[in-house]
Every structure is written in structure tokens, then in C-alpha cells.
Subunit: 354 residues, 2 copies
């Protein structure tokens, strides 16, 4: 019994059904001109032969593969797992497939894109780090739309969908201030990434407005990871030269979790009594009992919708939408890592909506 057995083709089905081959094609194409009874006969023959249309072959003429590339950077951050899941469900529902690439965090995606192009994907969604503007032009020139998810390249032709990161950073600062924090620290992620920069910028801006000096806001890099944030947090509290902060902004949830775990287990700190913590993303893990993070929720579903609307996969003939930067408002979810000031008390309804 040897592999590479003959697969039934539309010709086989046509022969069995007693029709010409194009009729088989029509039988599998919705809204095509074919008599209902003919279609039924063809489908019956197809069933008998276990015939499955070859979409590789049809792509050759239609110039559509119904494949969308998703380039992922940091799977160690559950946020991107949820992004993957959201896109996957959405794509499958519309009969498209996801070709998934993983790129090492920090590495550039140019090579991934090159591989993607070979497969004539209908669109590219990129969540990973660096991408040269040359690659963006190459995609655009070939008619392949590309959307950056949760990042943007200022002044470039690439379109992007993201959370309003600066605004979210302000929300956390606001919450800290309302809870009476006086001294601040933040653990940032990829220093080259706009996402981390923007969140930090919004956070700092709001504090500066309150008259807090920039030099009094401690800033340590946490390499966008649980482990990186854990050691960053310890370094902040072990630094004898500076006063201890009473509020810590973790640039994302997974880093806040790393910081909290380290500070509790190594230094015995209690959250929020010894230190309040705010973060960003609202991944499902954020609501688990040990964390109960007060965080800014990224509205993934809406971001996915926006991404798809920019890609407009259903209207391939429309021009590619270039240079769009679509920031979407995040929402502060009050949980337990920042004491809720009396004025906000009524807002602490956290597990609803998105």
C-alpha cells in the first residue's frame, strides 16, 4: 500500500456524474449557474469518490488562496495566544485559513514575510517586532494588504490597529493618583516597541501634570517577559540609593505577574498594602486569585474586527488601505492591586463586556 495514491479530481467526478468537468466546478461554487438537480447529482458523485476540491489549483486562476498569514512574536505572553485564538476563530468562520509564523521576539520579520509571499496569501497580520518598510512596499506592490496588530510604524505606509496605549497609561496613572500613591516606578518592555513606549509615555505625562518630577519616576526594563519583570522588580526594591515606590506600573499583565510573584516570594511584600500595581492587557490570567490585577483591558474583539475591515479580504479589488493608524480605547478594570478610592467604588464591576 503506497502513499501518493490518486486523489479524485473534478474530471473523475464529472465522469461519474455524466457531466462535463466545468459543471463540477460550478456545483461547488455558490451562486453559479447550474440546475439544482445537476448540482445534487454531482455532489452525490463527489461524495462517492471522497472528492475534495483542490483549492491550490483553484487559487491559480482565481488569484485568491483564502489563506491569511499571522506572524507572531512573543507566544510567551498569553495576550498573543488570545489574539491568535480570536483571529483563528474569525477566519475559520469565514472559510479562511491561518498560516502561522513565529518569529523570535526582537528578530525582524522580513524573512517570514518572504516565505509568506511564496504562498500568495490574501493578507498579512503582523504582531511581531521589526519589519522593514521595504517589505511593506513589496507586499503592497503585489497587492497584499498588511496590518500591524498592536503596533505601528510612524510615518510609514503600513496600517496598524492598536489600543490607545498612551491613553491607557494615563488611566493607570490616574488610578494610582486616586488611590493616593506618591512615588512611582514602571517596568517597561521592548524599548524599541511603540507599544511599551506609548504606555509609559501616557503614564508619565499624567504624573508630570500632577507636578511629579520625571526623575522621581523609576524606570527599569523588563524584557517583555515574566522572568525579566521579576528581576526588574527585585532590582527596583534592592536599590538602596532610591526611595521605594508605592506604585508600580507593569507595562503588561504578564510582566506585572512576574513582578508580583517575585516581590511577594522574595521580599514578602503585600499587594496592594506595601505596593500597588497596575498593568495593561487584561489577559484572562489577570483575574486569577493570586493576582486580581487592576489593568487596562485591550478590546481584542474590536481590534480584530478593525484589522479585518482594513484588510477587506472580501473586496480584493479595492485599493489597499495605507498608513492607517487606528487606536482603540482601552478600559480600566478595577480589581485588587490598586485600592479603590471611595469615589470609584461603584465602578468595580469588572467581569463584564469588553
Amino acid at each position: 500500500m503506497v502513499r501518493r495514491q490518486a486523489r479524485a479530481t473534478s474530471f473523475d467526478v464529472a465522469a461519474l456524474a455524466g457531466v462535463s468537468q466545468p459543471v463540477v466546478s460550478r456545483a461547488f461554487t455558490p451562486n453559479s449557474r447550474i440546475a439544482p438537480e445537476t448540482r445534487e447529482r454531482v455532489l452525490e458523485a463527489a461524495r462517492k469518490l471522497n472528492y475534495v476540491p483542490n483549492s491550490i489549483a483553484s487559487s491559480l486562476t482565481t488569484k485568491r488562496t483564502n489563506i491569511v498569514a499571522l506572524i507572531l512574536g512573543n507566544l510567551a505572553n498569553p495576550f498573543y495566544v488570545h489574539v491568535l485564538h480570536a483571529f483563528s476563530k474569525r477566519m475559520q468562520a469565514e472559510g479562511r485559513q491561518l498560516l502561522v509564523f513565529t518569529v523570535d521576539p526582537g528578530a525582524d520579520s522580513d524573512e517570514a514575510i518572504l516565505h509568506v509571499l511564496k504562498y500568495q496569501v490574501d493578507g498579512v497580520i503582523l504582531t511581531a517586532a521589526q519589519l522593514s518598510t521595504r517589505m511593506i512596499s513589496i507586499c503592497h506592490d503585489r497587492g497584499i494588504p498588511i496590518v500591524l496588530f498592536n503596533r505601528y510604524i510612524p510615518g510609514s505606509d503600513a496600517s496598524g490597529v492598536r489600543c490607545d496605549n498612551a491613553g491607557g497609561g494615563r488611566l493607570i496613572a490616574e488610578a494610582f493618583l486616586a488611590a493616593g500613591a506618591k512615588t512611582f516606578a514602571m517596568i517597561t518592555g521592548d524599548p524599541k516597541g511603540t507599544t511599551s513606549q506609548d504606555r509609559a509615555r501616557g503614564f508619565v505625562e499624567r504624573l508630570l501634570e500632577e507636578g511629579i518630577k520625571r526623575s522621581d519616576i523609576i524606570e527599569v526594563e523588563g524584557q517583555s517577559s515574566y522572568e525579566g519583570a521579576a528581576s526588574a522588580a527585585l532590582s527596583i526594591f534592592k536599590d538602596k540609593s532610591r526611595p521605594k515606590p508605592d506604585a508600580l506600573f507593569g507595562i503588561n499583565d504578564i510582566m506585572a505577574m512576574g513582578a508580583i510573584d517575585a516581590l511577594r516570594s522574595r521580599l514578602g511584600l503585600s499587594i496592594p498594602n506595601d505596593l500597588m500595581v497596575g498593568s495593561f492587557d487584561d489577559i484572562p490570567e489577570a483575574r486569577r486569585a493570586p493576582y486580581q490585577l487592576t489593568t487596562v483591558r485591550q478590546p481584542i474583539d474590536r481590534m480584530v474586527e478593525e484589522t479585518l475591515s482594513i484588510l477587506h479580504l472580501d473586496e480584493p479589488d479595492l485599493p489597499i488601505e495605507r498608513g492607517i493608524d487606528r487606536p482603540i480605547q482601552g478600559r480600566l478594570i478595577w480589581r485588587n492591586t490598586i485600592p479603590v478610592p471611595p469615589a470609584y467604588r461603584f465602578e468595580k464591576t469588572d467581569e463584564s463586556g469588553s
Copy 2:
């Protein structure tokens, strides 16, 4: 500026390089008969035109797409995220791509397979739940190898790679016994899945050997999720009709984490003083400070290798390997959720190897 711009084809490149079209094909095919200087000239022309070979078109003749389908069930369990990552890296390294499908946990994968077949994938890796044997034959008949990852269908034609789950269950039982546990409970996952069944079976078997009565081992379903395990754990400890267990086996790490978080936060239990906990998988989260799980490590890398060797994507002409069940030994990782008995003390070297 209109989309669907002409992409350069091998004819365009041929014309620019002053050669015939097949020569372009050869220039992009390693080990093909072409003069080095001709190849260079062609590649130069290709570069000028941003030419990228169309693998969709080449698949039509070669009958190889270099696409492998990965069907994922439960992305909420980080174990499968790591599986995805491992396969993705491995596939990319050999120039193959992953077409990812997500299937709701519990749902069957037949429809996913049908979609997969349209794309003429070179192989299928399935981590999700149910799959009819009919689908397996359809794949096999078309020459598409399929491997079940971390599951198997007894007596079927499908091949599978998995951890030695029963053996792992025994390891946990053994550890509990060595630590002096007397009363036991387990939180199981999908009751229809062999993985959960086997782990539980091995666990119970070992306890029975010690003369413990089956009816004295509490068993509650935890729906394979963090949340499900959390409520399962609470139900065990709220049941006044039975004695409290002093050892709890979580069928996987994520469920053990859910159980631990619930028991600590809701009932104030201390691990391992009030209750020892053992589990399975050794996901990276298992070593985090709040958990420090004693667990059975699944050797993902070896399992991935075995999967690929069964698929033998490089030798498509070999017959498909059917009905293989390849169990791979797991290894007990001692951390802090089971007190280490003196005799084992030296073994507590956990963060090495796989």
C-alpha cells in the same frame, strides 16, 4: 493605485535575464543542473523584479505544498501553546509552514480535516479531541499522513505520539506515598480522552497496589480547565460526607494551578502542609513562585521529533505509518508541592534537561 497589481512571474524574470523560463525555475531549485553564472544572472534579475516563486503553482506539479496542518483543541492550556511553538519552530527550520486550525474543546475535528484536505497539506498533526476513523481513512487514502499528538485511538489506523501517561500517573502516586500521604483525591480532565484516563489509571493502580481501596480515592471532573479545576477542588473540600484528602493529583498543571489558587484563596489551605499536590505536563508556568509544582514533565521536544519521524515528510513515497502508538517516558520533577522525603532529597535538581 489599484490592488491586484501584476506580480512578476518566472517568464518576466526569464525575459530580463535572457534565458528560457525553466531556467528560472532551476535557478531557484537547489542541486539542479544550471551553470553558476547563469543562476547568478537569474537571481539578479529576480531581485530587480521583486520576484518570489509562486509555491502554489509549483505545488500543482510537485504534489507537495510544504504545508502541514496543526489542529489545536485547547489553547487555554499553555501546554498546547508550547506544542504549537515547538512545531512552528521546527517546521520553519525545514522550510515548511503550519496551517493552524482551532477546534472548540470537545468538538470533533472532522470538519477541520475537510478544510485541511482542500489545501493538499503534506501532513496533519492533531492535538484536538475527537476524530472519526472515517476521516483517518480519508486522509490515508489520499496519501496524507496524520499523527495524533498526546492522544491515541486504541485499535485504530491512526498513529499517535504521547507521553507514557499511565507511567506518569504512577510516578505521582509513588511520590505521594513516599511523602507519607494516606488519603487521596484526583481532579480529572476530559472523561472521554485517553490522556486523562491513562494518567488517572496509572495513579490509581499504584495506590491499589499499596492496599488503598478504590472507593477511598476521591475523583472529581475538572473539565480540563483552570476554572473547572478550581471549583472541583472546592467541591472536594466542601463535601462533609467524606474525609479530606491529604494528597491531590491534578491531571495537568493548569488544573493543579486552578485547584491550588482556589484552595488557598477560598479555604486558606497551605500547600504542601495542608495538602500536597502533584500534576502533569511541566509547563513553564509550573515553576513560578506561587506554584512550584511537583509534576511529570512531558518531553515535548522528543515528542515533536517522534511525530515528525512518523510523518516522514521528506520521504513522501514511503508508505504511511499506521497504527503506531508511541508512548514516551515522562520524568518526575520534584519541586515544592510534595514534601521531598529524605531518600529522594538528592533528586531535587529540577531545572535541567528534558
